[in-house]
Symmetry: C2
């Protein structure tokens, strides 16, 4: 398997488990089952690894949010899919999601937020949301706020469903979750 990928995976696990400061690069390469030196073949520095990891996860997340969207016709249906994509990804990738949350609260994320590919996804997402706002399907709030609130609600879900995983199958719960979200957004 691709060693770069192995390294990123190992790093995600250890960073969330121990925190950035308590995870030496040697631990990462050990966890990944590769030599210590190879890490610096794929990543210039430790900070570079961290930045690349952030970008890669953020890209995966933002891509998944828009996933299968064209298969739905109605606007409300699209919005609902947007939302469920978002929290399904978070639940299926809780480690990665936790890393995002952790890193987003550091100024270090400023270094990296302006990455072109992420900006592109945001813009796509942004025009879509703007369309919904124009159609008065949702409240007129700025995109940052909307993303942040989505993340906020999803974080609650992830926390909750990590504790009670069986609830995730519950159709009533899913419906409630959606209502909660939409209540929050509708004009």
């Amino acid at each position: 398997m691709d060693k770069r990928e192995l390294l990123l995976e190992a790093a995600t696990k250890l960073f969330v488990e121990r925190g950035l400061h308590a995870t030496p690069t040697s631990a990462i390469s050990k966890e990944a089952g590769v030599s210590a030196g190879i890490l610096f073949h794929y990543f210039k520095t430790k900070d570079d690894l961290i930045d690349k990891l952030y970008v890669s996860i953020k890209k995966e997340y933002t891509s998944y949010i828009l996933h299968d969207l064209e298969k739905v016709n109605s606007d409300l249906g699209k919005l609902r899919l947007l939302w469920s994509n978002s929290w399904n990804w978070a639940l299926d990738n809780s480690l990665k999601y936790k890393f995002l949350m952790q890193f987003d609260n550091t100024s270090a994320s400023e270094r990296v937020k302006n990455h072109p590919e992420i900006i592109a996804k945001y813009e796509m997402f942004g025009t879509l949301i703007q369309e919904y706002i124009n159609k008065e399907l949702i409240k007129n709030v700025d995109l940052t706020f909307l993303m942040a609130s989505m993340m906020g609600l999803i974080t609650s879900m992830v926390t909750y469903l990590t504790q009670f995983p069986e609830k995730r199958q519950d159709q009533v719960f899913i419906e409630q979750a959606w209502e909660m979200y939409y209540n929050y957004l509708k004009p």
Copy 2:
């Protein structure tokens, strides 16, 4: 001024600014304007400092949430104060709040979450919320979920109001914020 306090303040600032892993203890003592050695007089290790910082901030936050609650009569008024206390504190202490967010997403927080004083505050908060649930003032969800969702919504606010601070004075906005929260919680 108390040097222990100075150290904790400096640490908060630097941790949020640079992240835990990029903040040496020497930088903390320098920022605090004290000698390098004194840090280890007040804190056994760097991790001990981090843990103590977390507990101290969490204590301050949970205390402030319950602040002035006895001055309000109606249940709904109390709930509203609970909420506004919570986000006012977060906005007035955004550095501390960001540190909490950052650290809560690390397993390191497990070491420290069971601190008796924090648990005590949670219990107080918990019985209060249980009362509201019994009175059917709010939905019957578990406390973890409720706290998490509150944090989630507040995080959105903090993100938003950091960008547009002038909105904070806006009465309409405050009213909307409350409605959003209550919509989310009412049965």
